[in-house]
């Protein structure tokens, strides 16, 4: 702790929030699906990976065509990625989960693992197994701190990630709390059978949930591809695992929980890599999960009555 400085600490918070935003965006997809059909969608990480690929492809194509306005690139990429990834989310539910509705809960879980392996290999076949890289779109940032000493670096991209994440989360929260379909989503997550008997087409609500989850995963994918400039068909696995951890940490089934869990996990990893060693970040992340589950089995914001197991 001798080289501890407040500036380094601030830097870790910035890095942690950036990472946490990405985790939170992906985690919402896990938590919403779990909240409604009580299933862990293990293919969700791959949905995010597809979002990242679409991001890289669209940005590369726009670069070739000569579009260089950053807002335009961002909008076009987000729109395209959401469209494509949302369709994947919808299709996966339709083909791999809906036919299994009503079967024992292990069955869709295994189907999800199958979808995950399928999508990884499918992208590998189409895009190659190697890393695909691209030129960074948005470079530069601000530096704060003394000349010659440790300076806090806040890149424009980090600000963009935080801003877009907050915007989409706010949009989702509004949608869930105010709109009619959002109300139906909440009703289904509380008692799907009853919602059905009151005339709500629950299959439509479930489809919508998958599309919403995929939308947020697409946003995360686009942001990550812009941030790191690098994707490969396997990024979905570890990101999915971390986001799932974030969802459980925050209380699976709870949307604010997923947001909080993502941020807590991002911060924990960032601090672990700074103050311990980079290799320890996963150890700390999963140790935190175990600790929270021991003390609060329902997660940070989970409610006991949300639990469906």
């Amino acid at each position: 702790m001798s080289d501890f400085s407040i500036l380094e600490f601030i830097q870790q918070i910035i890095n942690g929030l950036t990472l946490g935003s990405i985790y939170a965006l992906i985690a919402i997809g896990y938590t919403m699906v779990y909240g409604i059909i009580g299933m862990i969608n293990f293919a969700h990480g791959e949905i995010y990976m597809i979002g990242a690929y679409v991001g890289v492809l669209v940005i590369t194509v726009l670069g070739l065509v000569g579009v260089d306005s950053i807002p335009l690139i961002l909008l076009a990429t987000l729109a395209m990625s959401i469209l494509v990834t949302g369709s994947y989310g919808w299709t996966v539910e339709r083909l791999a989960y809906r036919p299994l509705r009503g079967s024992p809960r292990l069955v869709p879980l295994i189907s999800a693992i199958g979808v995950s392996i399928f999508l990884q290999n499918y992208v590998q076949l189409g895009q190659g197994a190697r890393d695909v890289s691209m030129q960074p779109v948005l470079t530069g940032g601000w530096r704060f701190g003394p000349e010659g000493g440790f300076q806090v670096y806040l890149s424009y991209m980090q600000v963009l990630i935080a801003a877009i994440t907050v915007a989409f989360m706010a949009g989702l929260t509004l949608f869930i709390s105010r709109s009619r379909m959002g109300r139906a989503c909440r009703a289904c997550s509380e008692d799907r059978g009853m919602a059905n008997l009151l005339g709500i087409d629950t299959d439509r609500v479930i489809s919508l949930t998958f599309v919403l989850g995929a939308t947020l995963a697409a946003v995360a994918g686009v942001l990550v591809s812009m941030y790191y400039g690098l994707v490969n068909p396997f990024i979905g696995f570890i990101a999915g695992l971390k986001a799932f951890t974030a969802a459980v940490l925050g209380g699976i089934g709870s949307i604010p929980g997923a947001m909080l869990g993502g941020v807590v996990l991002g911060l924990a990893e960032s601090f672990a890599s700074a103050y311990l060693q980079t290799e320890y970040k996963d150890v700390v992340a999963f140790a935190l999960l175990i600790l929270v589950l021991l003390v609060r089995p329902t997660g940070l914001l989970g409610r006991p009555d949300v639990e469906k197991v």
Binding site: R180, R183, R186, A187, D191, L197, L198, G199, R303
Partner: protein
């Protein structure tokens, strides 16, 4: 013959029973829980099912309400088959139900519970909801108005914005009935509505059911163990034992039926 054919269909519509249950059977593995049940519920009729515990009343309910798919038999509402429809379509045809246990959306507010069951009557496109169009807002306003009407009717207007799970038990029961009625059903199915209510609340329930029938022309199919309530409000009673119907008739007929007395009191 020709006379038969020229009969206007409207007459049939009026005379035909609202709900026709024919040869309904439900098997769970080796257990025949419901065996060839047969009954009709007419428009605006209050029809009760009684019988000892385990007689299969709730199973009949679940088959009629689309919660189970019956092993055999047909269920027709207004001349249309119900037993093949997905459950969310059954509500749209005009049949809703409650369960023995309260099944409100407990973390949602009282008024939200009533908005949920109007979801389908206000069929609007997703996009119009996202962009908050005028039509969407008008539909929401109408839904709120209807919700206020029903809250007033069941005496819950003052607690409209409380979480449903925090209401007293009797209030939750009334909210469930309001939530059903707001879908404008032709047939309301109540599974033990008086269970857990005190005598005063039971009398209120009796008055409410009578009012619903008188003012909203709804037929009521109920399962109930409270015999004084059943005898007071029912037009017709079906008695079940071991999954089969053993008697149907008016309260007076049922009271003096020897088979029924035997089922309830045991053999001499």
């Amino acid at each position: 013959m020709s006379l038969e054919l020229s009969k206007p269909p409207a007459i049939e519509l009026i005379t035909r029973p609202l709900l026709e249950v024919r040869n309904l059977s439900m098997r769970f593995g080796g257990l025949l829980a419901v065996d060839s049940v047969h009954f009709d519920v007419r428009r605006s009729q209050i029809f009760a099912m009684i019988g000892p515990n385990g007689a299969g009343k709730t199973t009949v309910f679940n088959c009629v309400g689309g919660f189970y798919r019956p092993t055999a038999g047909t269920v027709m509402l207004d001349g249309q088959p119900l037993h093949e429809l997905p459950s969310y379509r059954i509500a749209r045809r005009g049949l809703v139900r409650t369960f023995q246990n309260v099944r409100l959306f407990k973390t949602m507010t009282v008024v939200e519970n009533l908005l949920i069951s109007q979801h389908t009557q206000l069929e609007t496109r997703l996009l119009s909801g996202l962009f908050n169009t005028l039509k969407y807002r008008r539909a929401e306003a109408n839904a709120l108005e209807r919700a206020a009407f029903w809250l007033d009717k069941v005496g819950l207007l003052a607690v409209a914005h409380r979480e449903a799970g925090n209401l007293a038990y009797g209030q939750q029961r009334r909210l469930e009935i309001a939530r059903c009625m707001i879908t404008k059903p032709k047939l309301l199915m109540l599974d033990e509505p008086a269970a857990g209510l005190n005598p005063q609340e039971t009398r209120d329930l009796e008055r409410l059911i009578n009012e619903l029938r008188a003012e909203h022309n709804v037929a009521v199919l109920l399962i109930e163990h409270d015999m004084s309530l059943v005898m007071d409000i029912s037009d017709e009673i079906l008695v079940m034992e071991y999954g089969r119907p053993i008697a149907t008739g008016t309260p007076a007929e049922i009271r003096s039926n020897s088979k029924v007395i035997k089922a309830y009191l045991g053999e001499e």
